[in-house]
Symmetry: C3
Subunit: 308 residues, 3 copies
Amino acid sequence: MSSAQPHPLSCPASLTRRDGLTLSRIVAGMWRMQEWQLTAQQRLRLIEQCLELGVSSFDHADIYGDYGVEALFGEALAMQPGLRQRMQLVSKCGIKLVNAARPAHTIQHYDTSASHISASVEQSLRNLGTDHLDLLLIHRPDPLMDFDVIADTFHALRQAGKVRHFGVSNFSRHQFECLNRRITLSTNQVEFSPLHVDPMFDQTFDGLQDLGVAPMIWSPLAGGRLFSNNDAAGQRVRAAIEQVAAELQQPFASVVFAWIMQLPSRPIPLTGTGRISAIAEAVQATRFSLSRSQWFTILRAARGHEVA
Amino acid sequence: MSSAQPHPLSCPASLTRRDGLTLSRIVAGMWRMQEWQLTAQQRLRLIEQCLELGVSSFDHADIYGDYGVEALFGEALAMQPGLRQRMQLVSKCGIKLVNAARPAHTIQHYDTSASHISASVEQSLRNLGTDHLDLLLIHRPDPLMDFDVIADTFHALRQAGKVRHFGVSNFSRHQFECLNRRITLSTNQVEFSPLHVDPMFDQTFDGLQDLGVAPMIWSPLAGGRLFSNNDAAGQRVRAAIEQVAAELQQPFASVVFAWIMQLPSRPIPLTGTGRISAIAEAVQATRFSLSRSQWFTILRAARGHEVA
Amino acid sequence: MSSAQPHPLSCPASLTRRDGLTLSRIVAGMWRMQEWQLTAQQRLRLIEQCLELGVSSFDHADIYGDYGVEALFGEALAMQPGLRQRMQLVSKCGIKLVNAARPAHTIQHYDTSASHISASVEQSLRNLGTDHLDLLLIHRPDPLMDFDVIADTFHALRQAGKVRHFGVSNFSRHQFECLNRRITLSTNQVEFSPLHVDPMFDQTFDGLQDLGVAPMIWSPLAGGRLFSNNDAAGQRVRAAIEQVAAELQQPFASVVFAWIMQLPSRPIPLTGTGRISAIAEAVQATRFSLSRSQWFTILRAARGHEVA
């Protein structure tokens, strides 16, 4: 990080689409919160530190941490209920895990029926201790999903004040557009990193840019593999990022987040960490950008070949 | 089949699209009629038995049985001409086979020109002994097809009262939409079975659901390979279907038809058999449905992996 | 070539889209002009011979010949400035090569920013010695391209009278449509030949036909590999083309150009040669067409299998 910062680090906000939802430019992903093994007090402190950094959006799913993360978060939030109005809560539904917490499930499967979506939202609201979600996502595209049924269910949830905005996750461009024709979707949360560049070439990002919708990005650091992966691609990408990081005098992770946010679809990356210093490195990425040469240096390493 | 049936088995009807064509929920495929080696009287009896079961739609193509099936069907129908008004006749055109019946053909190829489509329809009408087709399909997407020419030809055939509804077969989602923008299409008849699940993941079914159009399904039993295939996938899928069949107390084939019809695009499967008992097993599938767990048990076997 | 020609060979004109740009049905590609090692006088003579043949459209790019071809062409054109109004000039931008002519470039990359597009057009106009381009193409799809920015830049270039029509090159169907929703595009220039048939099956040609837009085709002779390639596919395709050429009494290359132009999207092929006799063989292809059997004979050879 360059030594002199003119202002304290503060994450800007970002619209996911015109007249749509505002999230913080960096979203705090809670996926692994259970693994962080924090006391309720420590969890509250982490939430407060995020908010102090301007990271006001928190990403959940019903299933995270064996169906347990939402309640861990809710427990902390209940210690300072006033924080709720300063944050945006995102959750997901649609996957049914085989899990001790759900003994009725005999096979991992999807359920995008009206009854399951509604029941899952009710449970998320109870777990989080809130009366509404800011954003609800269908977690995975379900071969049995009925676009009309999902749209009707979303409309009813909005009508009831329980969910303000809707989106999907891991949907193809075409699947997104099918549902978006029935109800305005605010985002498609997809996997993307220098080790997983598919959405840049399979219409996902192009299609969202076309509609003026920002993707959310999960695993922007490839679940940590950017730091540890020692196969050819891993080494090549790491070396390229290190080179750019040295040129820009910025942290390695910040360069990755900046590389992602520079895409014209304006992706909104999630963090996956419980360390506030690592979240700050993501926020730091909102302060600088790469030159086109630097950007393509990382792309070339990611693909293993020059652009044509 | 469960022992006590409250009502005699009767196949319901199904719209292929809003304000569109009504077919029976199960369609009797005539592809292999020549192989069944039936007398004209036996063919008539099979047609009557289908109609008694509520299976009122019969699927043909100009080329089936060395260009011979339509005439075999027409010969039987001529013995009871009154049956025509109780059935829907589907045929296809656009493939030119190298065949003794067509000595002019020197290479297997496609022809979607206006003159070939019109001539093929005239021949189908003569063979079937009818003055109109209820549904005409372009059999395969032709690299030389001109969407405007096909649409104009379809319009003219409808104007002349020779064909009432139009569709395609084996078209991609995008190809379907290109032609559907020019003339309303009633269906896309595609291959689908637990051994060929591509249409569920390549936009075909999603795209049809999006437009409110039901696909027709050929080879829903994978041309019999579901019963006989002994590679890993075959064994895995067969075991999963057997498990569900045992749970539901339904015939193996009925479970496959039900698995298919449960998709939100409301697929209309074809049978491929001349045995009325086997056609009845398909109709039986309209009477029950699988639980989501059962449905995903077969999907998992089909793909060889759990959903993500 | 059949011995008796009723009229002198003359290339017809072709609209790239309704109310759009008119190009000659065959476009003279200047990609390799530098390699032809012609004097300015010889270059002028080649241009004049093209125009005499009715080949009035000349295809350039900023980068061709180490950023040098446009200036070679401009030098010749300056000797007969009156020719400008009888021709259509096409150029491209968006690729930045590592090249002695551009010492600032440190990595091969794309640049579709407003400033680079505008600067590249200005340079093309200077090099060609003209006040306008008839057609400007974005050379490659750029992961960093902002559809709105490109459309705005195109609008401004048209407003300023510097470029009359716009298009893209090597774009997917979806990418074409994203930009075409913002500014009317006249073409998508893609690679296609009997040795590279992807655009026929990946929605590119279908999508353009759907919109009434003609593709331009680069490397219709597969960069000469149609003549020299001795792998299985090369031998198979060459034999099929030779057979059709013998049947039609037409030159080998003419058959290839006719095979391409027969597609319903009405492709406009480029030549890649400095020999006027070879350009004439392309023009000759506008005078005849293949039977469907002949057309599919070449397709079968190209794919290595019969159509289904």
